[in-house]
Amino acid sequence: MSAAALGSRAPRGSRVPGLGQLWLRSIRASFARRMAYRADLALDIAVTLLSELVGPAITLLIYGSTAGSGFPGWAMYEVLLIQSVFLMSRGLAFPLFMGLMYGVLDQVRSGRFELTLLRPRAPLLILVCQGIDPIAFTRLAGGVAIFAISLSHLPSPSAMGIAAFVLFFAFSLLVLFSLALFLSGTLFVWVGNGRVYELLDLLLNFAQYPLSIFPRAFGLALSVAVPVAMVSYIPASALLGRLDLTGLVAVPASAVFFLLSLLFWEKMRSKYTGADG
């Protein structure tokens, strides 16, 4: 094996055709990694399922406590539908790309981000692939179950409503990805700031409830400035036939939010200075 032979078939830059293989290998590696510690896996699944159901459980308690209690103008199954969309969106985002946040947190703190920069791929792609966690799809199960139960107690959505829901649900994932980019981007400068998860939870708490319960200006901010309303409220509203103008404004706002998050992440990445001399 000569040097020429060693190097002759090395990849030429980014190879898009290999993206699928990279993704599948990442899933396989992550699955194997999680399976290595079975007790942790079982506990993780149980705790995740229970913690994800806290929001819907509170809704059931509120609506079931006394007659007439609840969110004004919203029936219990409508609120549960919003929360189930929230769970489904998280149920896809966490296994697919939210691991990015831990990846940046861990690698920047330890200096291992340099190994990611040594790969002939976009660092963001590598971090997303390394953060894939197929076991986190269990989050999705609770969401899908509550979604099905809620829909069975509500009038059938129109075809237009279903189409809008599918579109908005894609935007929901885009907003979650943008949040992951913004929060993980800060970790290149605020090294080791484990509070980003609390910040994420804080922001996403607003996504679990009907927008109408918040003051109007705040609701508008949640649709346009930091469009977390797109995570669950707007897609669910489309399915319920209750979509208003705010929902439509949130679409371009989410797209701009995503572009800004990408620019922010790249800008922050360029500030990476390493962990040792």
């Binding site: 060693l6 002759s8 078939r9 920069l117």
Partner: protein
């Protein structure tokens, strides 16, 4: 630039800012609001050229600028000013294209996925680098047999010994067929057998034309592997010559152990300096050959002593390198050997 030149570094400078604060409570509290900023000149006008197929030792004390230089060469950091061209690429401007053609092994940063077998990590790298299956299989076959790790590639990485893990790190770094491999402390913590295996592997790959840039504090690695040595200190290159020149850097000298029947006080010659008196009869000397050739020393020793045993060897490279490091530290006057 010569056709065989692989790395060209010209006037490379890197400055970065860091912060200083004291350890007292008041100083810690103050640092929350205002920190004292310090500008560090990590690299000062570095000029280095490396030819294809070289095996270069890159030395320097902690904080000398080695890691910074290595990070710039691997495209991880960009410099404040200066030019770097490696295989025709500017590492930090053409990072994605460039890093597909280099490899790196870090003794203290594992590229393997800890919880799963090395083979799974190799397959991940195959996907990341887009290595065709036939090439991947052939290289894995050759590398695993050279390093004798076929039987352990299927065991979880966390269950492997440090030596086994390091061998797998080398496979990780070589599977995509890099032309240049950067090694940062590749034998740290390894036992003598594992070190020997790794060194043999590096030499075998080098014979096939792979260029190695070796950064280490283990000077035995340098002695065994490197044909050329660059020493960097305080951000500047203070030595850049062959390993033979390094040995003679402070003059051509020999280390002599002399065991005699009686005391050795009578033995006195120009250029002869006793460095360690183990006993009346056993003394270690450093002999400056420019002042006193070895035959004259032996003749004189025979004349004034009854020699029971004698061994003549080179000055240990550790002492020479220590001298180089000290020579570049003006605050440590008198530290020259």
């Amino acid at each position: 630039m010569s056709a065989k030149m692989q790395i060209e570094i010209r006037s490379l400078r890197k400055n970065y800012a860091t912060y200083r604060r004291g350890s007292g409570f008041a100083e810690i509290a103050k640092s929350v609001f205002a920190r004292e900023k310090i500008l560090v000149e990590a690299l000062k006008d570095i000029d280095v050229s490396v030819e294809e197929g070289e095996l270069l030792g890159f030395l320097g004390p902690n904080g000398a600028g080695k890691s910074t230089c290595l990070k710039i060469l691997t495209g991880v950091l960009f410099p404040t000013s200066g030019q770097v061209e490696v295989m025709g690429y500017c590492p930090w401007k053409q990072r994605k294209k460039y890093v597909g053609r280099i490899g790196a092994v870090f003794g203290q940063k594992s590229q393997l996925i800890f919880d799963i077998p090395p083979l799974d990590s190799f397959l991940m790298n195959q996907a990341i680098y887009g290595v065709p299956k036939a090439d991947f299989d052939a290289r894995l076959d050759e590398l695993s047999s050279l390093l004798d790790v076929r039987d352990i590639m299927g065991q979880p990485t966390r269950n492997l010994s440090l030596g086994e893990r390091m061998k797998c790190e080398f496979i990780m770094a070589m599977l995509h067929g890099p032309r240049i491999v950067f090694l940062d402390e590749p034998t740290i913590g390894l036992d003598v057998i594992a070190k020997e295996r790794i060194r043999d592997f590096i030499l075998a790959m080098n014979r096939k034309g792979v260029t190695f840039i070796l950064t280490t504090h283990d000077l035995a690695d340098v002695e065994f592997l490197a044909r050329r040595v660059i020493v960097i200190n305080h951000g500047s290159v203070i030595f850049d010559k062959g390993i033979g020149s390094l040995r003679d850097h402070f003059g051509s000298r020999k280390r002599i152990r002399l065991l005699s029947e009686g005391g050795q006080d009578a033995l006195s010659l120009d250029g002869l300096k006793a460095t360690d008196r183990r006993s009346e009869n056993e003394v270690f000397y450093d002999l400056d050959l420019s002042a006193c050739p070895i035959d004259r020393f032996i003749a004189k020793a025979n004349e004034v002593l009854r020699i029971r045993d004698i061994s003549i060897g080179s000055i240990p490279i550790e002492e020479i390198v220590k001298g180089l490091y000290s020579a570049a530290m003006p605050e440590r006057e008198g530290a020259l050997p």
